[in-house]
Symmetry: C2
DNA sequence: GTAATATACATGCATTTGCATTGACTTGCA
DNA sequence: TGCAAGTCAATGCAAATGCATGTATATTAC
């Protein structure tokens, strides 16, 4: 039996929590809205395509995507299915593990990611970059880093 | 024809964006998981119950909840339906507007919110409070405030 | 007063997500 | 070797969400 000691949050901590949730929600939904308005797929597709692009010719295993993007196993399974159906990735049999598969970015997928970026980038700038000085941005990044650690 | 000038984000801005999304996602899902593990309803129920508690005896109109919690109209409609079915809120006809209704917290709803808080509070402390000094927390809160503005 | 428009809320239908389970293969170990 | 346990991925079913639209009432313009 473990006793985990977790004291109650201060008002300041609560306020920070609320702002974290709200600020992210607001920013994220404005980015998603921009993508949708431009006729692009949802943001998570971008993340997948980017990971695959970074992974290069060997692609990635679904479980690698799962941990890289903090998705659930069944979420990856169905997301990959949809992206494949759109022609942006290909599944290959995995040589060294017959249970698995390799997910490879297609040229169309590469193009899609690039086009999404042309909408995504200004949306990030509008929601984050334009609201803070570089020094403030750095501070925010560091503090968020501490939260994730 | 408007020209909206939005330059591309710096690498620092992009990193901050990614961390904002990830940090919130991580923290939020750990809070949600704690609630679920304790047998409580999802977090958004807490938000609704708290808003209704703050609103007092007259309760709130659905559209007020919508803007207070940044939800979609149909989301509120169905969320309220579920919470009502659980017995945590009551719907009253609205005197001055026959299209509308008033949502009132029930005693069971008040209790539910209190019990949720006993899980929610330590989870906030664990995801935010315990990771930062008070000064850092204040700085983070202020910077997130700028993002929301 | 009445017609046009706007607001409040609900809902049918398709898509997505969550949860539990299954099927297939691998690994560890007797 | 062989089998128990573990890992990778898919899927059936239920719940939640998104989108478009519907219904009712209120407000505005004339």
């Amino acid at each position: 039996m473990y006793i985990t000691f977790m004291k109650n949050p201060t008002d300041l901590t609560i306020q920070t929590w609320v702002r974290l949730v709200r600020a992210q929600q607001t920013a994220l939904s404005s980015v998603e809205a921009a993508l949708k308005k431009a006729g692009h797929p949802p943001l998570v597709w971008y993340d997948v395509l980017l990971e695959l692009e970074r992974a290069g010719a060997d692609g990635l295993r679904p479980f690698e995507l799962e941990s890289a993007l903090l998705l659930r196993q069944y979420g990856v399974s169905r997301l990959v299915e949809r992206i494949e159906k759109a022609g942006y990735l290909a599944r290959e049999a995995c040589e060294d593990d017959a249970r698995g598969q390799r997910l490879i970015l297609t040229p169309a997928g590469r193009d899609c990611r690039r086009e999404m970026w042309s909408t995504y980038a200004p949306a990030i700038e509008a929601s984050v970059g334009s609201k803070l000085t570089p020094a403030q941005t750095k501070t925010l990044s560091d503090l968020l880093g501490k939260l994730m650690a």
